[in-house]
Symmetry: C2
Subunit: 137 residues, 2 copies
């Protein structure tokens, strides 16, 4: 059975937030948007339909829990939820808090503005706050 | 209780494919990509987390059924599944068949190339073929 390993590009572009039941939750290192990524810890998957049915249900529940916490924590106007994977093929789901004042609004965030990394420690602090909001600790 | 009505912009940009248990399934009138949109027939929703839990599960199942049929019918390389809604706020989910040869690859499809409407009758014929593939009739 193949062993899951986080895609190196996803690892390089994100900070760890929490390990959920199915997914590794990561914060995109882009201060332009509160932008989370859920990566199911299953090897060799690319599309949502590649998941086993029980995992698919768990993923939806984790996406929703993360979405609710992200909306409550940021007060965003809109959530964007997407499984694209054209560049990084490993199955991952974006959950992005959007504001009418953000750099790409109302367009999708991808390819609009270069990622603006968080200031030192700011990303880790935001990830810790989101982890507490999501895990309720 | 508010009554569901398809957003006028979604109606103008798409062709009808099928009425599923929860969603109206529509074909984006853009021959550049096999591009379906699922719209839950519930009034006043914007985000996935606005759905009642039973509807949320139904939506995931309908997205997956549509995804499987679209992949089988088109032989696409990748599926893109997204709930964005920054421009049209009514809750809707994109399911797009992506090819490494399509006009936007590997970028997301939004905002890349102007929509290229289907030739007369070609959109309706494609919608009918997809409806048969999805409904199994």
């Amino acid at each position: 059975m193949p062993i899951f390993a986080l895609d190196p590009r996803l690892a390089a572009d994100t900070l760890p937030v929490a390990e959920l039941g199915l997914c590794s939750l990561r914060l995109m290192n882009d201060a332009g948007y509160p932008w989370l990524i859920l990566v199911p810890r299953r090897a060799g998957l690319a599309d949502l339909i590649d998941l086993e049915p029980a995992d698919r249900a768990t993923l939806a529940a984790e996406v929703d829990a993360v979405s609710c916490a992200l909306k409550a924590h940021t007060g965003c106007h809109k959530l964007n939820v997407a499984a694209l994977g054209n560049v990084v093929r490993q199955l991952h789901v974006h959950v992005i808090a959007r504001f009418e004042t953000d750099p790409a609004w109302p367009a999708p965030v991808w390819g609009k503005a270069p990622a603006k990394p968080y200031a030192p420690r700011a990303g880790e602090a935001f990830a810790a706050a989101l982890s507490a909001a999501i895990l309720g600790n």
